[in-house]
Structures are given as C-alpha cells and as structure tokens.
C-alpha cells in the first residue's frame, strides 16, 4: 500500500513539474520572438537592434521612462517606466513604428537616481555636507541670515588662519569637482588670553566657529542632510532635517544630541559633560563652556566631521539647532561641540531657520556700478558680479 502510494506521489510530482514547465514555456515573457513583430511596419525585417535604435530615443524622451533595453532571449524590446500610465504613451510610438504589442513589454520599476552622499555637491547648499579649503576638508555646519549677509558657519579651525579673519575660500564639495567657490571667510574672532577664565599659557574662545559669506547667487536652505540611518555609518543622503528652531540661550545641555558630518554621517550620543573647559590637543587653544557627547563603543565622529551641525530632534524630521561640533577623541566615540548661543555671542546674532540666497541683504556688496574694468585680468581673481571674494571687494 505504501509502495503504491509512493509511486503515485512520484507520478503526480512528475506531472506537476511537467505542467509547470509547460506553464513556464507559455509565459509571454519567455515566448520566442514574434516573427510578425520583426517584419511588420517601418522597421519590419530589421533585427531587434534596429528596432531599439529606431524607437528608444523617442520613448526615452517621454516623462516617466526609466530605461530602454533589448531582451535578446525573447527578441523583444523592454521599457522600464515609473508608473503604469506611461505605457499608454509608449504604445502609439511602437504602433507607429509597426511593432505590435507582442514585440515589446513594459515594466514598472523604481526610478534610477544618482546616489547623493554627504560628499556630493548640494545645491541649494544644506548643512552637514563636505566643504574643502586649502588642503583640508571639513563639514559645513548650517546656513544663516546675518547682518553681514547670507552666510554659513563652520569651525574657526576650518579657516586658513584660526582666530584671524582671513580670506579662506570654500568649495563644496571640493575645488576639483566644483571649482566655483560657495563662499569666503568673513569673520573669525581672535582667541584671547586671560580674562580670569583662560588658563595660563592658553588662548581662549567660547566657540570654535567662523562665518563665511556666501557668494552671490548661491542658494542655501535651513536644512541638514539626513542619511539613511542613525549611527549606521552611512553617508548616503536620504532626506533632510528641517531646522525649525535654534537654541539661543543654553550653554548647558542634557540628553541625546545628534550631528551630521561628512565622515561618520548621522550619529548621536548622550551628553556626559556640559559647560566644560577643553584644551585642544597639540595647540595652546582652550575652549570654554563646551559640551561633551559620548556613545561608548560606537564611532560617532571622525576626521573631517569638524563643523558638523549639532541638534536635538523634534517631531518627524524637525530639529532644533544647538551647536557646532569641532573635536573628538581618537577612538571616535566622543565628540565636543560649542553651543549655538556662544556662536552667536562671538559672531553676532543669526537666524538658522530661514532659506536664502548669497548676496541678499546684509552689507555684502550691491554696488557694481564702477567696477566694470575686467579687461586684462592678469593674475587677479576671477570676480563675478557682487563676489564676496575679498580680493574682489
């Protein structure tokens, strides 16, 4: 009885497999080339390559098309579209070329996008992305409206001369990939001795922050790049945090702090020390009233993250800006940031919650009436109208 049963099962399985195989064979996707499709219409008699050449340019010009390809195994053209309705736009083109429906197929597929990272070019400019100056790389903190004009904030040590307002030129993400500068250093207050708070032999400030004036026409947003996840090391930009508010009054903090930087992406940790005096390794610089954030065993900071915006999260992707990161330990599980209040105390009042354009407002130029002589150039800088390049002012 068992023997018969087993044999019967084997027969049934073979039949099922055979039917399945036949089923596969009758699948339209796997069917052999439609001879009629290869012969009819203006492209009749042409091979699939010619069909492809004759139709794909027009099809790919349609909004919502993703790709065009040749399926050599079936002799069909294949078109990828973002939504089914696009197929209705493809049909007339194919019909006009004499290709029947059986001569091609349309697939709905995800649109293909360039992967944007924190080291890609971002226009309008947003916070948390890479900037390049001289032979160094840092992170752009955030963009602000300032009495001096539309600006962005990064670290004081991300300038040519720390503690001296110079002419540092910033490119985003780098000078090689994006040769036009996005801005020039506009304010980097001096570090000072004494004052009853600065240790002997040290020079001090309350924030490691400098302001750079955007070049005319450079748009910037009150946003911070958001990567694919928190503390996952990803640099791929998957959205944005919206800077909904800024902390204008706090120098002491608690709880979880977040940052986004070009090296370690979006990371977070808990405040372990607040309003701490911190010496910068290898220098005589001392920063007063800083906040230390740690996430033991997790890398939350790395070289290049200097300038990262530090924030607390609200609802959804809304955040409150609380400071700017400047340092960390060698193992990378601890970072230090300067409070936003201290940044304003040293650089002047600013609003990080608005969008803007370089050259708008402030005192950054405007009068281009008599500066027209751009004749011989020489070795001078290339000065677009209203440039904030100090050499052009």
């Amino acid at each position: 009885m068992n023997r018969v049963s087993v044999a019967g099962r084997v027969v049934v399985m073979i039949m099922v497999l055979a039917i399945a195989a036949c089923g596969d064979y009758t699948d339209p996707v796997m069917s052999p080339p439609d001879e009629a499709a290869l012969r009819g219409g203006p492209l009749g008699g042409l091979d699939i390559a010619a069909q492809f050449a004759g139709t794909s340019p027009e099809v790919m010009a349609l909004p919502g098309t993703v790709f065009a390809a040749r399926d050599e195994s079936t002799g069909r053209l294949v078109f990828g579209v973002e939504r089914p309705a696009v197929a209705n736009d493809i049909a007339p083109i194919m019909a006009r070329q004499g290709i029947p429906e059986s001569g091609y197929r349309v697939e709905v597929t995800e649109p293909i996008r360039f992967m944007s990272t924190l080291r890609s070019e971002h226009r309008p400019v947003i916070g948390g992305v890479q900037i390049h100056w001289s032979s160094y790389v840092c992170t752009l903190g955030f963009s602000v409206d300032h009495a001096g004009g539309r600006s962005f904030i990064t670290n004081s040590h991300c300038t040519d001369n720390q503690g001296t307002t110079g002419t540092t030129q910033y490119n985003q993400p780098s000078r090689t990939s994006s040769p036009d500068p996005i801005g020039f250093e506009a304010d980097d207050p001096a570090y000072v001795r004494g004052g009853g708070v600065c240790s002997r032999g040290k020079v001090c400030r309350y924030s490691d922050a400098a302001r750079a004036l955007y070049e005319s026409g450079i748009e910037s947003r009150a946003r911070i790049a958001k990567t694919t996840g928190e503390n996952n090391g990803s640099l791929e930009v998957a959205g944005h945090f919206a800077v909904q508010s800024q902390d204008n009054s706090s120098t002491s903090f608690s709880g979880t702090m977040h940052k986004v930087g070009r090296t370690t992406g979006w990371s977070s940790g808990n405040v372990t020390n607040t309003c701490a005096t911190v010496n910068v390794s290898g220098s005589n610089i001392q920063l007063l009233c800083q906040t230390i954030v740690q996430n033991t065993g997790t890398q939350i900071v790395g070289g290049g993250d200097s300038g990262s915006p530090v924030f607390t999260r609200g609802s959804g992707d809304n955040v409150q800006l609380v400071g700017i990161l400047w340092g960390g330990n060698t193992s990378g599980d601890l970072f230090v940031f300067s409070p936003f209040k201290s940044v304003q105390d040293e650089l002047g009042s600013m609003n990080a919650t608005t969008d803007g354009v370089g050259g708008d407002g402030g005192g950054n130029g405007g009068d281009d009436g008599d500066g027209g002589d751009d004749g011989d150039g020489g070795d001078g800088p290339n000065c677009p109208p209203n440039s904030n390049n100090p050499a052009c002012r």
Binding site: H132, S135, Y136, D160, Q162, S174, T263, G282, D305
Partner: protein, 192 residues
C-alpha cells in the same frame, strides 16, 4: 588669497610643539594632479576629499591595509634606564615611485604612541584623554618623502606615576581616514 604656513602647499611645515614633544613635518608640493579628476558622478565612492581612502578607488591613496606604499616606522632606543626620558620618532615614508596621498586627522596632525606593559595593558598613551580637532588634512608625499613626528616620553603612566622597570611594547599610530595607520610593535626595556 592668503595662506597660512600651516595650510600652505609646497612649503616646509613646522607645527607648534605639544607637551614635551614636537611635530616636524616635511611637506612636499601638493601635486595638483593628484586632486584633479577625482570626482565622478555624485555618490560614486572616490578617494580623497570625495571619499574614504579605503574605498574601491584606484587613486593612489593609502589604505590602512596597504603597507607596501608607505613605510611607517617608530624609532626609539631598545633599552633605557628608569627615569630617563625616551625619545620616540614616528616616520612615514613614501616608498612608491609616484606621489602618495595621505588623509590625516587633526590640526596640527595628530599622532599617537601607545606603550603596553608585559600584561598587554596600556601603561601610557600619548593621546589618552586628548581632544583633537576633527579636520581632515590632505597630505601628499612625493616619492621618498618623509613625514616625521617626535615625542619624548618621561616614563610616566597616564596617571602620572613613574612606570616600573620591565619590558614594554610600543607602537605608533596616525589617525587617518578609513582607520589609523599603525606601526609594527617595538620593544623597549626599562632597566633599574
């Protein structure tokens, strides 16, 4: 554009001293070609400022796993008497026939020296408890060029106490993008 000595290209760089140590870096002209053409379409991992040096890029940058391009060596005496200051020199030399880009952390460039006792415990670490600025410096070494850092250890532990005589293992590290560049371990005997 004015450029500070610390940020200039093609000049000899002298960084300020730190504690009892000093950093002296021999800097070569930055080869612009090394930067040119690095950047491809957005999102594609590239070397240098556009991507980690340990990426799949073919650019002549240094991955921490690549040791035939860079000779990283820690120089120190094999034997010293207890209480005598120990000079230590960390040297990074480009062994290639072409420029080599290094992406190093800190301003001034940070370097670490770690001394382990016979049980493998850290007796002293140069950057223990230090906060370094998280800037990334692109340093290009021409063929044969050497980047050199020096420090004198006073034989005191991180807690400030003199370490006892014994045999210690010492290694140097350069924090870099993609992970620290690490020297081979050296042995130091401290005799009574």
């Amino acid at each position: 554009m004015s450029v500070s000595p610390a940020a200039s290209w093609g000049t000899r760089l002298v960084e300020p001293p730190r504690r009892s140590g000093s950093i002296r870096a021999v800097v070569t002209p930055l080869v612009l070609a090394a930067l040119a053409g690095l950047f491809g379409p957005a999102g594609i991992a590239m070397a240098g400022p556009e991507g980690p040096i340990a990426s799949t890029s073919h650019h002549s940058t240094l991955s921490p796993t690549v040791s035939d391009s860079l000779k990283l060596r820690l120089k120190l005496p094999e034997k010293v008497k207890a209480g005598v200051a120990v000079p230590m020199t960390l040297r990074a030399e480009n062994l290639r026939q072409e420029p080599l880009d290094l992406y190093l952390t800190g301003r001034p460039i940070a370097f670490d020296i770690i001394v382990l006792d016979e049980e493998g415990r850290v007796a002293w670490r140069r950057l223990e408890g230090e906060i370094i600025s998280m800037v990334l410096r692109m340093e290009t070494l021409a063929p044969g060029d050497i980047l050199q850092f020096t420090h004198t250890w006073d034989q005191r532990s991180d807690a400030g106490d003199p370490v006892p005589p014994g045999t210690y293992t010492v290694r140097g590290e350069l924090p870099a993008e993609g992970g620290p560049l690490v020297t081979k371990a050296r042995t130091l005997r401290i005799t009574p």
